[in-house]
Symmetry: C2
Subunit: 414 residues, 2 copies
């Protein structure tokens, strides 16, 4: 049975920094930063496809929809008009104003001066953490959570402090947990709403309590809202509605379907703008100019119409996939309200998510992401399903998984 390859490759990767460092100078942080397993898995899936195999992709963390036409057209115009030189480090003033307008529509009054345009949400995370986190200082974050978060903290010599979360808090950090897990060296707390890999949102009341708990400890709150807009049912408010002391990370990648353009933004509290600007000048110079001009069309009514249709489609996919996976014996104890992920407990079939994922890909032609990408807490017993593919593909995936799981349960000693 060919279940070994992928997970053994990961183990080799984890070990290879040690092997390499026999001869090469390699910083210690490199050994602590893990590969993004979903990317390796995607590469393996592409290899299988190149060899003629069919793969259902339920691993990919980006919308399968292209960038909306009005945004692409704005990008085309920008290039034709010769907008190919640097913008200011904080971003195009018109785009900062457009984002402020976007918040104003939600009833939040934010000065454009507090809005920093960044190279993706990745750039926003690096700026925010670089601004507030000293070496040796702790960043509390939910486990499971977006894998890069803990690595950003580690990259700048901060200390990721994982807090195990589960269905009892809808996989979200709570104010009580912040109180319980706060260490003498803790300095900041990062939450995500909607969250990845679990797709859950924080209510206004929960954010208020979290902000108060962090404030009481003189810490800094960072809120990842990159899946904002991708919510099914009542949309949660931005954390900006309850606090003006948090760093808010957002992105044009997910709701606006602009992943490859690499454009995000950061809302910074009063008093931090100049510090963040200095870092942005030095680390990035500026975000992509064509992308910034394109994004000016992201808030236009015709773009919003397209995006709202896509949101409805994501909701239909979730409403199909969630009960279908539960039916197969995969446990998804809560209904995720946002993003495009389902985080499923595979305990009934395996306690090795990497082997399970590798096996599912190699034998059944379905790509999913092992929980180990998202942390350590019960990670080996979970996988993440992304519904970033068409309904027919999801149905085919469910059919293949059903067949595969049936086989599994008849194989002794798997």
């Amino acid at each position: 049975m060919p279940a070994v390859p992928l997970s053994s490759i990961w183990r080799w990767f984890a070990g290879c920094t040690v092997a390499e460092s026999r001869n090469l100078r390699l910083a210690a942080r490199v050994g602590d930063i893990e590969p993004f397993r979903v990317m390796d898995l995607l590469a393996r899936a592409r290899t299988l496809e190149a060899a003629g195999r069919s793969v259902v992709h339920m691993e990919i963390g980006e919308p399968d929809f292209p960038t909306p036409a009005p945004v692409v057209e704005a990008g085309l115009r920008a290039l034709s008009d010769g907008h190919t030189q640097y913008t200011p480090a904080l971003g195009l003033p018109a785009l900062r104003e457009a984002i402020a307008g976007h918040y104003a529509e939600q009833g939040v009054n934010i000065s454009p001066e507090r809005i920093v345009i960044t190279p993706g949400a990745s750039g926003a995370l690096l700026l925010a953490l670089g601004t507030v986190l000293n070496p040796g200082e702790g960043l509390l974050l939910a486990d499971p959570g977006y894998p890069c978060n803990r690595h950003f903290a580690r990259f700048i010599e901060g200390v990721p402090q994982a807090v195990p979360v589960g269905p009892e808090s809808r996989y979200q950090l709570t104010a009580e947990q912040v109180a319980a897990h706060w260490q003498p060296n803790s300095a900041a707390v990062l939450v995500a709403s909607p969250s990845n890999p679990t797709g859950t949102v924080l209510t206004k009341g929960e954010i208020t309590e979290l902000a108060a708990a962090v404030e009481a400890r003189r810490g800094c709150l960072l809120v990842d809202e990159i899946y904002h807009g991708l919510v099914y049912g009542e949309a949660p408010p931005s954390a900006l509605t309850v606090t003006d002391r948090a760093f808010i990370i957002n992105s044009f990648s997910k709701y606006f379907c602009m992943t490859g353009w690499r454009l995000g933004w950061l809302v910074v509290p009063e008093g931090y703008v100049r510090a963040v600007e200095k870092l942005a000048q030095n680390l990035f110079i500026a975000a992509s100019t064509p992308a910034q001009y394109a994004a000016l069309a992201a808030f236009a009514p015709e773009t919003r119409t397209i995006l709202e249709e896509r949101r409805a489609e994501f909701q239909r996919r979730r409403d199909y996939l969630l009960p279908a996976l539960r039916e197969l014996g995969l446990e998804i104890p809560i209904v995720p309200q946002g993003a495009f992920y389902l985080y499923a407990d595979i305990s009934r079939f395996s306690n090795d998510a990497e082997a399970f994922s590798a096996d599912l890909l190699e034998r059944a032609g379905v790509a999913v992401t092992p929980g180990t990408d998202f942390g350590h807490h019960r990670a080996e017993r979970h996988v993440r399903f992304a519904y970033t593919t068409a309904r027919e593909q999801l149905e085919e995936g469910v059919r293949r998984i059903a067949e595969h799981l049936n086989l599994l349960s008849t194989e002794p000693d798997l």
Copy 2:
């Protein structure tokens, strides 16, 4: 006399992290990272222009030429074809191969696997330093040098170790200086050829000696070649011709005139690819997709024809500006062979480069960059002129500077 504003603003900026931190959590690194003065100066120049003043721009570190038409057209095609999603973290395979082909034309055989596409040279610097430099470890670099270099090292808690350089070594680090300045905690050496702000190049022999000196100390050599291609006279070879153990940083910004696209690359030594890939996955996800497709046209013959014409124009500008500035009493002791900068000693007129630059902007309408952007060694006695503007503008600038310097020398106690 209105000479005070800009330099006093900078002093306020330097102090403001302290003031802010009374109430806000601010990481120590922010206090050590200086603003990019040239950007503040550019902003002030734009304000003056908006108020109706005429400004000659000799401060801007980007080509005044737009991106070549074949590259823009490739970008337009990429957008029209829907290339708006993530690429692999290491970059588009076709672009990595195109860059390998570019080196092959120079007689250097580099596997595309060692070429990493990055969000600008900024991304390449962050990846390279993040890979090799531990907290507390030293990075030797030339002072004066590109300002962000020392801040990248500081950002990841490394220690920039500035080595004063002057005209006697054409402002380049030498193997002897590496030997003399190497500390017990030193780990890496960064050189640039052509250099910013001084425009000088390293010969093949000098790179060979530097590589040996670094190797003998089990250090890591990083070579910034982002101004490669912009050389007047005999072009120096890439450091890749003499060593395959160095990290080479390059960019599509300068020679290829693609600043706003934010695209660069990093050539990594054997054995480092996987480490760099892990960091790239986590820090950036990937570089801009439209930019990568556009850059595929950067090496096409019709693009090269355009770029070579521009190179000739830069050379004509240098050949005009260098003697013109010398005639005014500004000392430029060596002839820079590359980039688009002249680094001039202003000692005859001032020992305060920031006040001198502010004064020149406010009173004479000429923007130049104070030496203090590039380090500390005799920085107060130097300014950088960029010839990134048309010949007529340079002539007007020289006329204004001449008038201003004449005034200065008649004013007592400036």
